[in-house]
């Protein structure tokens, strides 16, 4: 046998690929990139058709936060995929409330479709649809009091629509025309309505999480039983602002609900880029001593129930709850991207938790409170309403034609009172 000199062995080792090689930086990638057949088997979903998998308990709302650990790593569900409402989290809503939820979701989807097409016609610069996530915003609005301030990210238009914000005002904001209450100052979809308890959306992601906590601290400071309800996407949980919000809400036991809408995609980056090796986004709340729950975000009833639970806890002095809404962004991030460039074409159809609108509809049909004819009639009615309202909104101008906004307003609302240098600049601008 040939004897191998120790020096040769060391040389061979240095050339061989090693697990500890310096070139093995790990970068996570999603499974379903373009050209692949979408596959979600690694999610290890339980049998979604069986109520036997609805095993997570609904604890007392004042339970010790750490006892919510199973809820943070599990998935709270009420609706089976065949439309039955089962398990301890069933909020037992009456048919009228269920139909209202369906209608609000349906309206949101019709509005989204109209506004998306309007942008494609060049009448606005930008729009963002919420298809697949309507149930989260609508259920939140219906489970909370109208006086509870919501701090939305950009995909919760369902909150505004459910709270009865005038559709024409919403459309005029997207058109940046003379009917826009914000006088064209903010980009489309950055709505603001103090009256409807809807905080001004800024497009910086995550920054408003700590505002919600500050608002909640103010609610407590003033001795009210109101709360605040913040939303972020899963991607922006990587921002320091998320950490700030969780820290401050924990320290001051702020009455607030911190929602992470995990729709799997942050533009083209899959959720694993923000999640890293962590179990769930909800689980992060436990590290701060906050009650934490992961819920099927495409299950209207489950979202409603979890929101009610968190609101009751906050109002009773139990502090904040972190809720991860496990959902899926069925369309592009916005009008500015093409999802077929970064994810498998059929991925939305392969998403195992279905479409929230269809699932609530099926449930209502199953319990005999709805049918296909009524649904078709509702769609027709809502589309007509959206079409007529849009015509009205467009009569106030569009970004493409004439916005009708007085240029002098550009210098207003920078400060409460206009300082001399802005007055001079307004004069210089000749407006």
């Amino acid at each position: 046998m040939k004897k191998i000199h120790i020096k040769d062995r060391l040389l061979a080792m240095s050339k061989a690929p090693s697990k500890r090689n310096v070139n093995s930086l790990y970068v996570p990638e999603p499974k379903n990139r373009p050209g692949t057949t979408p596959d979600f088997s690694d999610l290890n979903m339980p049998d979604l058709y069986s109520e036997k998998t609805h095993t997570l308990p609904r604890p007392d709302t004042m339970v010790d936060a750490y006892e919510t650990a199973p809820l943070a790593s599990g998935l709270v569900r009420v609706l089976t995929l065949d439309g039955r409402a089962k398990g301890p989290w069933n909020p037992q809503l009456d048919p009228d409330t269920l139909r209202l939820g369906l209608r609000n979701m349906h309206l949101t989807r019709c509005v989204d479709n109209r506004m998306f097409n309007m942008q494609r016609q060049g009448k606005s610069s930008f729009y963002m649809k919420s298809k697949g996530e309507e149930g989260i915003a609508v259920a939140a609005a219906m489970a909370l009091k109208d006086t509870d301030m919501v701090f939305p990210s950009y995909r919760q238009q369902g909150l505004l629509l459910s709270r009865g914000y005038p559709l024409r005002d919403l459309m005029c904001q997207v058109l940046s025309n003379s009917g826009d209450k914000l006088e064209g100052k903010a980009i489309p979809i950055c709505y603001s309505s103090r009256e409807k308890g809807f905080y001004s959306i800024g497009a910086s992601l995550g920054t408003q999480m700590s505002h919600a906590v500050g608002w909640a601290m103010a609610c407590a400071y003033k001795g009210t039983d109101s709360l605040s309800c913040a939303f972020t996407g899963e991607g922006a949980t990587a921002e320091g602002d998320f950490h700030y919000a969780l820290t401050f809400s924990s320290t001051y036991r702020a009455p607030c609900i911190i929602n992470v809408v995990n729709n799997q995609w942050a533009i083209s980056s899959f959720q694993g880029i923000a999640a890293g090796q962590s179990k769930t986004f909800a689980y992060r709340g436990l590290g701060f001593g906050l009650a934490s729950i992961r819920v099927d975000g495409n299950d209207f009833l489950a979202v409603y129930a979890v929101m009610k639970w968190a609101a009751a806890r906050a109002r009773a002095g139990g502090g904040a709850t972190v809720i991860e809404h496990y959902s899926y962004r069925m369309e592009g991030h916005s009008t500015s991207d093409d999802p077929s460039k970064y994810r498998a074409k059929d991925e939305p159809d392969a998403w195992p938790l279905g479409d929230p609108l269809e699932r609530l509809k099926e449930h209502l049909i199953l319990i005999g409170e709805w049918d296909e004819e009524r649904h078709a009639a509702q769609e027709k009615e809502l589309n007509a309403y959206v079409r007529e309202t849009y015509k009205d909104a467009e009569s106030f101008g569009t970004l493409a034609t004439q916005t009708g906004i007085n240029p002098a307003t550009m210098f207003e609302q920078v400060y409460e009172d206009m300082p001399a240098h802005l007055r001079r600049q307004r004069q210089e601008a000749g407006v």
């Binding site: 505002h211 500050g214 409460e416």
Partner: protein
């Protein structure tokens, strides 16, 4: 009237507002039980309650962010950033949120918050406890930036800031907390006791922004300055035997341009002083304003004396600081050249 140093004047402003308005609350790192590392919030927790003056986590972004939310609700939070050098984690919240909330919501939501922070050198703070970052904030539309140079102004301006419905960044030159400082670090420390500007009313009063103070009147030279440099300007003018109009800006944004123009047109000479680094410093803006508005009245080019474009060095603090000697030399060169 009472005799106060700048710490006591700031404390008094907070106390007056907290007594007057239940919506005013104070928080920040170590400001509660301990009363702040510079003692500006001493006794406020004991007098007004734990929920009105409390400690925050070490999280400047979180401090400003929660203050914005409270302000939007209708409270008037006054937060302390322990050193201006540590304001940067809160910079995004100040620029993207506090300063923009009113505009983007067209007045629907506002951020009536005050952000207090000690700034400037002269206490051996080195790179991390000496910075003067005011120019970063004067570039942000929607903010107001205030820097007092004495106890009387500090109290009146701080009360004004708290009552203002827009976000105010209120920088406190920490070298002036205990006394005026003319830039000569070899001299014994002077106190505010017995000083005219250390005479501070105990009750409520305000000083308007966009309203410079003429620290001293003169006919030969205008010196534009604020904070610590007001005192250096006074000493240097005296040392040079020159009749200087010293304009203490007090409010950098908005700026009292009328006072500047009036003074420069009178003297025909303009010297600009600040402790902050030179490039893109606030002096550049002042120089541009003087050029745009007073060009035909200038007899000499405008001169800046500032901190060097280096981080604030620890051992060489007094070589960095634009002290008496550098300012005096610049005055002489300008007037004789």
């Amino acid at each position: 009237m009472a005799q106060m140093n700048m710490i006591q004047a700031i404390n008094s402003a907070l106390d007056v507002k907290m007594s007057q308005d239940p919506d005013v609350l104070v928080f920040g790192e170590d400001v509660g039980f301990f009363g702040g590392v510079f003692r500006c919030t001493a006794g406020l927790q004991e007098k007004h309650g734990l929920h009105r003056c409390f400690d925050s986590p070490i999280s400047e972004g979180g401090i400003v962010g929660t203050a914005v939310g409270m302000g939007a609700y209708g409270l008037r939070p006054v937060v302390e950033i322990q050193f201006a050098d540590y304001i940067y984690p809160g910079f995004d919240q100040i620029c993207s949120e506090a300063a923009r909330l009113r505009y983007r919501s067209n007045g629907d939501f506002t951020a009536p918050i005050t952000i207090r922070s000690p700034m400037g050198g002269g206490i051996h703070g080195g790179t991390s406890h000496s910075q003067s970052p005011e120019a970063l904030f004067t570039h942000i539309s929607g903010l107001k930036v205030i820097i007092p140079s004495n106890p009387y102004d500090a109290k009146g301006l701080l009360i004004k800031a708290i009552e203002d419905n827009d976000p105010v960044v209120f920088f406190e030159p920490k070298r002036l907390y205990n006394g005026p400082f003319d830039g000569d670090h070899n001299k014994p420390v002077e106190s505010w006791a017995g000083h005219e500007l250390g005479e501070v009313p105990e009750g409520h009063y305000t000083i308007d922004f966009e309203n410079a103070r003429i620290h001293q009147e003169g006919s030969e030279l205008t010196i534009l300055c604020y904070g610590t440099m007001v005192w250096v300007a006074e000493a240097a003018a005296r040392a040079c035997g020159i009749s200087a109009d010293i304009v203490d800006l007090r409010s950098l944004l908005p700026l009292d341009l009328d006072a500047i123009v009036k003074s420069v047109k009178k003297t025909g000479h303009c010297l600009i002083l600040h402790e902050a680094t030179r490039t893109s410093g606030f002096g550049a803006e002042l120089m541009a304003q003087v050029q745009e508005n007073c060009f035909y009245h200038l007899e000499k080019p405008v001169v800046r004396v500032t901190g060097w474009d280096t981080p604030y060095p620890h051992a060489l603090e007094w070589e960095y600081f634009p002290g008496l000697e550098r300012v005096s030399q610049s005055i002489i060169r300008m007037m004789e050249g």
